[in-house]
């Protein structure tokens, strides 16, 4: 028990938590934006893989880090456009389209990676984002080391939470996005094009997801591996439900989740001899299911989630 307290007050634990939480925040916010506009995006797992590959490859081919992030976001938005073409304009099943996009995008990432680097046996590496110590603030003991000595992408992820909240709740665009997910007829009555609003939301959300993927290859690690997203996208979908579609709660949920994951890695080092490591690795997935079960009764889905909108047609 004392060991656990030791871990909880160590800066290393909190720094690890923030490292784990960054891609989750980006993915969860991305999914949240899509679902708030009424579109479930199960392409998330594939789009994160795509973002991880594209951002990494851009840098490996000689680009700089920030333009790599932009490139990943751009490719993510393209896949968002594909998803909304199918689900928003053609009104096809959001479930099946999303699964199809995940299958397509992740296999395409592997294909392109193998095509450009056919003989790579040991994964080639790039120089990833380095931690940036924020002057003065990073000198605070523990908090400074944990919160203010992260890589720029982590700061970006954290600052996107209030940004998304502000846009969704305090701007006309955000209102239109939320209404498109609750009552598209009312949006149309205001003379706003539901299809464009939804498409825009899905593209922005998918760009977020891709940057979340890029974080993993460009900030957390320095190489691209096969299967490296490893279900993080699906965990983000669960986190959106846990957060009841609210950005603030999404941050809390993701932090809780990442904290438990960081704790799990440390517990594994202590109890690894007694409990096989696979059971520790199962925890994130089981926790996500438990989180969904806890929130299921209180979940207030966006009313028009999964319902395609066709102008001039009654629903």
């Amino acid at each position: 028990m004392l060991d656990i307290i030791d871990i909880l007050v160590s800066a290393g634990f909190w720094a690890a938590t923030l490292r784990i939480v960054s891609p989750l925040i980006l993915g969860t916010l991305g999914e949240l934006i899509c679902e708030r506009a009424g579109v479930l995006n199960l392409g998330i797992e594939g789009i994160m893989t795509m973002g991880a590959m594209c951002g990494w490859m851009w840098v490996y081919m000689g680009g700089d880090l920030w333009s790599g992030v932009l490139f990943a976001a751009f490719v993510g938005a393209l896949f968002g456009l594909l998803h909304s073409g199918f689900t928003v304009y053609l009104g096809l099943s959001q479930h099946v389209t999303g699964i199809g996009i995940t299958l397509f995008a992740s296999s395409l990432s592997y294909y392109v990676f193998r095509m450009l680097l056919p003989d790579a046996t040991t994964p080639p590496k790039i120089i990833p984002f380095q931690p940036y110590k924020i002057p003065f603030l990073s000198d605070i003991p523990i908090v400074g080391e944990a919160l203010f000595s992260q890589t720029p992408l982590t700061y970006l992820a954290l600052s996107l939470v209030p940004a998304v909240w502000y846009v969704l709740y305090k701007t006309p665009v955000g209102l239109a996005v939320r209404m498109a997910g609750e009552n598209p007829m009312a949006v149309e009555a205001q003379g706003i094009n539901v299809l464009s609003i939804r498409t825009g939301a899905v593209m922005v959300g998918s760009a977020f997801m891709a940057v979340g993927g890029a974080f993993i290859t460009m900030s957390a690690f320095d190489a691209f591996y096969f299967g490296m997203i490893n279900g993080r996208g699906w965990i983000c979908v669960a986190l959106v439900i846990f957060a009841s579609w609210r950005p603030g709660k999404a941050l809390i949920g993701a932090l809780l989740f990442a904290g438990l994951d960081a704790l799990q890695v440390r517990a594994q080092q202590m109890a690894g001899a007694i409990i096989p490591y696979q059971f520790f690795l199962m925890l994130p997935y089981i926790l996500s299911i438990v989180a969904m079960v806890i929130m299921a009764r209180r979940a207030s889905y966006p009313q028009a989630l999964l319902t395609p909108f066709r102008r001039g047609e009654r629903t």
Binding site: L42, L82, F86, Y89, L90, G91, L92, S93, H95, V96, T97, I99, G100, I101, T102, L103, F104, A105, S106, S107, L108, Y110, Y111, R114, M115, P118, N230, G231, W234, I235, V237, A238, I241, P276, Q278, F279, L281, M282, Y285, I286, S288, I289, M292, V293, A296, R297, A299, R310
Partner: protein, 349 residues
């Protein structure tokens, strides 16, 4: 752009939809082949040759289609009831676990009983793996897509634990694999000197049974009714929850059978890589078959042809083998559009 419902759905359009989808996928895939710098025509010819060109290739294609028929049926029946079971991968491994648990010496029966027994426990295990997600869905309204997806990872880790720990074969030279299935439980070969086994027959029987159930029984009617419109089904006196639970158990059962046939039919023992994503590919199989159980056989054969053929094609012209997965992903997307075009017409204004 305007989308209009067609007055009537022509049967030839329905029959042509998968053909059009496949053609579109191959066309889009050819862009990727051109990008590598390989000749498209030759590459696809090599793919077909690699899958159908010799008797060995043919038996390999048939062998590969067996698990795909089972997982295809699992997806087809579940999607009919709008229960999105994306967990066939995990259920497959549960079936494989059950076959390994009972088949490696725990119970010995004559082959005529042993093989059906292994299939029964495998199907039950596959169904059991889906019990938690379906009960969460019917009783707590927890979305089944995410729970079934996440359980895949949990189950795979559990199999890894068993194979590296208590179930590891001490004679396996350190490889994480189980002991062998006893001779009585191993499926006989369908063709001598090949890997093709009786699982193909079982898979075809499974498709026929599934089709008969969907077409001629009350259960099948209820499944279709719930899939079309749950509120109308409830109004007509169908117990929607019972139907969804029953469908899920049957779906998980089929996925479990895929695991049994890979362990007892193909490999003879359990490893962590018995399935290179058959559970996910099953979704593509079911979609290409437009969720029709008999058509699942054809679409499984087609997709298995792509996988087997892509292996030899990629060796010959240096195209990454992932081209097969890309084509499968593309076909899921293109079949959605082509099926939609059988019911709707697009009008440009």
């Amino acid at each position: 752009m305007q989308i209009e419902l067609r007055e009537q759905i022509a049967p030839w359009r329905i029959a042509l939809a998968p053909v059009a989808a496949v053609a579109a996928s191959l066309l889009l895939g050819s862009i990727l082949i051109l990008w590598v710098g390989a000749p498209v025509g030759e590459a696809y010819l090599l793919l077909v040759k690699g899958a159908l060109g010799s008797s060995f290739a043919l038996t390999e294609t048939f062998t590969r289609s067996i698990p795909l028929i089972f997982t295809g049926l699992a997806a087809a029946i579940a999607f009919r009831a709008r229960f999105y079971n994306i967990g066939a991968e995990g259920q497959l491994y549960c079936g494989a676990l059950a076959a390994t648990f009972f088949g490696t010496g725990l119970i010995t029966l004559p082959p005529l009983l042993m093989i059906p027994f292994l299939m029964l426990v495998g199907a039950l295990a596959g169904g059991a793996a889906l019990a938690v997600p379906v009960l969460l869905k019917t009783h707590l309204k927890v979305d089944e897509v995410v729970t079934t997806l996440l359980l895949n990872f949990v189950i795979l880790l559990f199999v890894g634990y068993l194979l590296e720990g208590p179930w590891k074969d001490p004679m396996s030279m350190g490889w994480p694999q189980s002991e062998s299935i006893i001779d009585e439980g191993v499926f006989p070969k369908l063709v001598d000197k090949s890997r093709l086994h009786f699982g193909l027959l079982f898979a075809v029987i499974g498709s026929v049974l599934c089709w008969t159930m969907m077409r001629f029984t009350v259960w099948g009617y209820e499944i279709r009714a719930v899939g079309h419109n749950p509120s109308a089904a409830r109004f007509a006196g169908i117990n929607v929850n019972t139907t969804v639970i029953r469908t899920a158990l049957i779906s998980g059962g089929f996925a479990g059978l895929a695991g049994v046939s890979e362990v007892a039919g193909l490999k003879g023992y359990l490893t962590l890589d018995i399935s290179p994503g058959f559970g996910y590919t099953g979704i593509a199989v079911a979609m290409l078959a437009q969720l029709h159980p008999m058509a699942v056989i054809l679409s499984a054969l087609f997709i298995s042809m792509i996988y087997v053929g892509a292996d030899s094609m990629s060796r010959a012209v240096n195209i990454p083998t992932y081209i097969a997965d890309v084509l499968v992903g593309l076909s899921v997307l293109s079949i959605l559009v082509s099926v939609m075009l059988t019911r709707y017409r697009l009008r440009w204004r």
